[in-house]
Assembly symmetry: C2
Homo-oligomer: 344 residues x 2
């Protein structure tokens, strides 16, 4: 595979580090991945023979600006160079998510698919806004579109629905899809902390972001649920179609009363498909110990599908963090390499 | 897809029933499956234009012998006919498991792969005895070998390891892989029944077989663990390499003492991979509530993989019974149809 990495932020960097770490493994598996482009917003690196990513990794330890890299770095290396040269077969899109326009990812993905490149994307924006359109473009151009990283990273939620439930119809999707809020709720259960204290603690550990709005108000969960629903149930819904509540109103009193009854609050994203009519919600739900999502603790995530002929499927776990996000990009890449058709 | 169904026992019949039930769905998904052969040990049915399986299903309600079916039935229709005509692309092997020789499945699968047919198999025998050889044959002949049904049916255990952990290394496999024993242990936890009573109860409900040896002495779990280990860790082990204990020595006293400590006994199949050295066991283990397999109750099954870069993955659920087994055959079939490469 010849690859252009578009976006040189946290996920992009973690992906290159992972490729270094996995060099031996990939060789042993007979998987040949060449990175020909690394493109940031200010320029990039291009090497038609494949960038030596170990060397590049060493280089940026002392010099932040990759355009100064002596083997192919330049401020003139951009996504347009990739389009012009047409010497890769796969584009990895890891630019920052924009939930209103999806840009710049939307343009990158659209033009890549139109140019006949496979695309693996970690950027949720374009996928939540236009999956059906992008899927259609990929199909028309006979290329693949891997989106496994957009709905829980290492948790194989999308693939679980597509591959493992092939031939069965999915009646409902229900998940603990956000590790940060699950961690906060879990901390409140452990000690008698308030929501504010638990959030502050999560922020100091790097689990919650400085601006935690997306997580704690339920929008991260809603975004993932929207993508899962649109993809697995062939819909074109938007965030407006989801009733979204976060966890900000939770109190130690509520938590304690739940625990007394042997129950736990979880932020649940849920889609019920009733004869093709889809109902989506994100809200705090009180789960008893018989519920399969009851025991999903800490930063863990989990998803439950109810299907007709293949029964219930519950997938839990998935490491958190940048390496796991990078590993889930690599997973999609390898599956495309092996011939799996995400786009049929 | 043009299909020959070899084996007309419980799974074979359930598969044809499922195809009838899914007719509309498959049409809507654009999946074209024609069954050209149904072969039992006493003859079969052949129709080069595709057997009308609804009609065949009606026919066998009054007449057990399919060779008498007026549209293509005959005692001369056999697996050899399939080999001679070469007018299918996929063989579904559902004959009875033989754990010593793998026959007659071994011959069916070998000759099918050599003839350039994809094979989807529900029969564990040949897979536990010779997966590596059969995989090699499939690879050489550029066809696919789907084995998802052999390691827990609807529970996507094999695919979970192959697809969802692509690019990560699996350090351990641990699972509740047998629904019958899990049900019996669960019944003992609920009431103060002895092992013998719980087994009898399971037998009367059709959950345990008349001869429950394979389940209760751990061999069903061992077989599944062996297949998972050989496939996912590229080994050629045999059942002799596994330390196998069943659940027959469990007493109400043990169960009660465990419950008092907040623990449960589970029959766990476990493989630990330490620097390429593999250690396999099947035995009763005492799990605390923090263990992800603790809450797998009743007839449910679950598997946990520990990987390096993609973290833990726990897959639970999967319906039990014949329809679920048939649905897991259909799942592999559809994935092959969609281009997924089980054999790379």
């Amino acid at each position: 595979m010849r690859i252009a990495l578009i976006g040189y932020g946290n996920v992009g960097k973690a992906f290159l580090k992972l490729l270094c770490k996995k060099e031996e493994y990939l060789k042993a598996e007979g998987i040949d991945i060449k990175v020909n482009y690394v493109v940031s917003s200010k320029g990039g690196v291009y090497n038609p023979d494949g960038i030596n990513i170990k060397e590049l990794d060493d280089f940026i330890k002392t010099e932040k600006d990759i355009t100064k890299y002596h083997k192919g770095g330049g401020s003139d290396v951009s996504f347009s160079t990739v389009l012009k040269n047409k010497d890769v077969n796969t584009v990895i899109e890891t630019t920052t998510t924009n939930k209103e326009t999806g840009e710049p990812g939307m343009t990158h993905i659209t033009l890549s698919l139109e140019s006949g490149f496979n695309v693996v994307v970690s950027n949720k924006g374009p996928i939540m806004l236009a999956y059906k359109k992008l899927y259609g473009l990929a199909k028309k151009n006979n290329v693949q579109l891997g989106i496994g990283c957009t709905t829980g990273g290492a948790l194989p939620s999308i693939n679980g629905g597509i591959i493992e439930l092939a031939g069965a119809e999915i009646m409902s999707i229900e998940g603990v899809l956000n590790g940060t809020t699950n961690y906060i709720l879990n901390e409140m259960e452990k000690g008698e902390t308030t929501y504010e204290e638990a959030l502050k603690n999560a922020q100091s550990l790097g689990i919650a972001e400085a601006d935690p709005t997306m997580d704690v108000e339920g929008w991260d969960t809603a975004t993932k649920l929207l993508i899962l629903t649109n993809v697995l149930m062939n819909k074109e819904n938007t965030l407006n179609d989801i009733e979204v509540e976060g966890i900000t109103s939770i109190t130690p009193k509520m938590i304690n009363e739940a625990l007394k009854q042997g129950k736990k609050y979880k932020l649940i994203g849920k889609t019920i498909n009733k004869d093709g009519e889809v109902n989506m919600s994100v809200r705090l739900e009180l789960l008893g110990s018989e519920h399969p999502l009851y025991s999903v603790d800490g930063k863990n995530k989990s998803i439950r599908y109810v299907s007709n002929t293949l029964g219930d499927l519950i997938i839990s776990g998935g490491a958190s963090g940048l390496e796991a996000a990078a590993a889930s990009v690599l997973r999609d890449l390898i599956n495309i390499y092996r011939g799996y058709k995400y786009v049929r």
